[in-house]
């Protein structure tokens, strides 16, 4: 039970703090715009400075002037958009039995060709010992939320791989959209063999997409990325050699100039620079995990999708092909218009994949019935029983 009255003053302080930071953000945005203008004078040398810097944060590099804005291209021809999403019921030791479920969806919408939309869902149950205990890096790990998350990511790319041949057969230009980032930096901390397996599944699906000539893009709504802002921080750095570990401001306990834009997100910077439908140039990330993506090294751009700045991630082979890049740009913007701010195809894929609370309860009820039918023992923790639901 929450006694809200005990934290009312904290909530009030929270509001006040946010109002103040809005003022700081205005100042930081003005500084950021100044730096972007400086970069525009010589983008190549700025990019070299950013690439050479040793920072404790990830930076974004660029081949074109980052102050460029590319307007949304027009596409009048028929086309298709497929979106993949997934959701899960995490393994819960307090439930009837230890197992987890992944539900993936693939929704394809066709435009201008009269084809009927397709929505497929694929629920998968994982309950065998090899599903619950994974052996990688010479050690056994019991399944946890992080592992289920990776398994779901793999299942989504498997779903993409399955959806692509059908899409190709329809013979209309198509784009595949994924929900959320394609830069799986969290895999960095996993054993090498696990990483290889997971990224192998991802890159195999991307290979298939490339083979069919279908660009793949990940759409990130309300992105929190700061890679480009971090690049601006490099530009603001006053050190002779840019190396965060050797920063003199740390030793002297003075405020480093890079903090002048420290609170900004990339989306706030581009919010003031992009007109409706426009995108930024393509940025490359220095995320270490991308070294393992082979030909599919992920790049990104920001798009004014109408109601927000979205981050779009694409494999390098998509950004290298201007017609594919334009197609992704058009589709992301057009889909966001049709979906009142968020791509309608992704919203539909989410609706088809999502496992609601009542469905979760029904799932466990069904598992329970199967156990009873076969005379298997049901164990429930005292904690679960005490909750009485």
């Amino acid at each position: 039970m929450l006694d809200l009255s005990k934290i009312l003053s904290d909530i009030d302080g929270f509001g006040r703090e946010r109002a103040q930071s809005a003022e700081f953000l205005r100042d930081e945005l003005s500084t950021a715009n100044g730096v972007i203008s400086e970069i525009a004078e010589d983008p190549a040398s700025a990019c070299r400075r950013i690439s050479d810097a040793k920072t404790s944060w990830l930076t974004a590099t660029f081949e074109e002037n980052p102050s460029f804005a590319v307007p949304a291209p027009k596409l009048d021809s028929a086309h298709a958009v497929v979106a993949i999403d997934g959701s899960q019921i995490f393994a819960d030791k307090h439930e009837v039995a230890l197992c987890y479920l992944i539900n993936t969806s693939a929704v394809t919408l066709f435009y201008g060709c009269g084809e009927r939309p397709i929505a497929l869902t694929r629920p998968m149950l994982f309950y065998k010992n090899e599903d619950l205990v994974q052996s990688y890096g010479g050690k056994e790990t019991r399944v946890d939320q992080k592992m289920v998350g990776f398994r779901r990511m793999v299942a989504e790319f498997n779903e993409l791989e399955r959806a692509l041949p059908t899409l190709e057969k329809k013979g209309v230009p198509a784009v595949a959209l994924m929900d959320g980032s394609m830069i799986y930096w969290a895999l960095q901390g996993e054993p090498e063999d696990y990483r290889k397996w997971a990224l192998g599944e991802v890159t195999r699906a991307l290979d298939t997409a490339r083979g069919f000539g279908i660009p793949v893009a990940a759409y990130i709504s309300d992105p929190g990325a700061r890679d480009f802002v971090n690049s601006l921080r490099v530009m603001l750095c006053d050190q002779q050699i840019i190396d965060c570990d050797k920063c003199t401001h740390k030793k002297e306990d003075t405020k480093p100039p890079c903090e002048k834009v420290g609170r900004l997100k990339d989306s706030s910077v581009f919010g003031s620079k992009l007109d409706n439908g426009c995108r930024t140039v393509v940025f490359s990330s220095k995320s270490k995990i991308l070294d393992e993506y082979g030909d599919h090294r992920v790049q990104s751009f920001y798009l004014n999708a109408g109601k927000e700045i979205a981050r779009i991630e694409i494999p390098a082979w998509v950004s290298a092909d201007r017609s594919m890049l334009d197609m992704v740009h058009f589709v992301c913007y057009d889909q966001a218009q049709k979906g009142r701010g968020y791509p309608v195809v992704l919203a539909e894929a989410h609706e088809h994949a999502v496992v609601r609370g009542s469905e979760r309860a029904f799932f466990y009820e069904t598992v329970q019935r199967a156990f009873i039918k076969h005379g298997a023992k049901i164990t429930m923790s005292m904690k679960r029983l005490s909750k009485g639901y």
Binding site: V107, L109, F110, Y111, G112, R116, P117, A119, K338, R340, V344, E348, E351
Partner: protein, 251 residues
């Protein structure tokens, strides 16, 4: 003539059922007669208490040929109406399969998932279909409700509520003109509607009378018979009776 499938039962009781329309935005018309087949294993058993004949015989307020009375009063029926009441086993009207009959008394279209609120798009219909193919494909659904007015028993229509509700997921079919004429041979279904509190009864009565009138090829004698039945049922509510008569009058 084959009965057209118009929906599938998704909720049922012994007095009404709710069905998902086969066509989005195009449920069977208000006042339409529909039937739900009753499977062989769950066929409505003939009731020892309420066989068609016993109903007629045991009802002290019903003559053995109520239509005979109408016929005399109205001065004779037209050909279509006469065929149906005089030639019950004519080739057009073989004995009926086990079924439950209803009259469509309401319909609605909305989101499949009630948690997904709909908002206007301000686009014309063609543009909507072009830009949002998913909406008609899986976001919306049309439902209709039907009040049950009778069922078959031994191949004949009984104007009684069925012993069991229709089975869920049974197909709902539109009644053919032949079936409508069989159902409306006796006007007892009007009493069921008049006494119903589920829908605006005047509207349902007017709509179903007009539909049956069509099934009789516009035989005016049918309207007269229906009007007389209503006059009897609503003798204490002249205004309501007038409201219905005004709705169904062909002039």
């Amino acid at each position: 003539m084959e009965n057209e499938i118009v929906g599938e039962v998704i909720e049922a009781s012994t007095i009404e059922f709710r069905a998902e329309s086969r066509e989005l935005h195009s449920p069977p018309a208000f006042g339409c007669f529909v039937r739900v087949s009753v499977g062989a294993q769950s066929s409505v058993p003939s009731s020892p208490v309420a066989s068609p004949q016993s109903v007629v015989d045991d009802d002290p307020f019903e003559s053995s040929d109520s239509f005979g009375t109408f016929r005399q009063a109205s001065g004779g029926f037209g050909r279509a109406y006469r065929e149906i009441i005089e030639g019950e086993s004519s080739p057009d009207c073989p004995g009926l399969d086990p079924a439950i009959f209803g009259i469509v008394c309401g319909a609605s279209t909305g989101p499949v998932d009630s948690s997904r609120k709909l908002r206007a798009f301000w686009k014309d219909e063609d543009q909507m279909q072009e830009d949002h193919p998913e909406i008609s494909e899986w976001l919306l659904v049309t439902h209709f409700n039907a009040m049950i007015i009778g069922h078959t028993c031994n191949g004949a229509v009984q104007h009684l509520l069925p012993p069991q509700p229709p089975k869920l997921f049974s197909q709902v079919r539109a009644c053919t003109d032949d079936e409508i004429r069989l159902i409306t041979r006796k006007m007892d279904f009007l009493r069921t509607i008049v006494n119903s509190h589920q829908a605006p009864a005047e509207e349902v009565i007017a709509a179903c009378i007009l539909r049956a009138y069509e099934a009789y090829d516009g035989d005016f004698n049918f309207l007269v018979a229906a009007g007389k039945e209503l006059a009897s049922l609503m003798k204490d509510d002249y205004d309501r009776l007038q409201a219905i008569i005004r709705r169904v009058s062909p002039w």
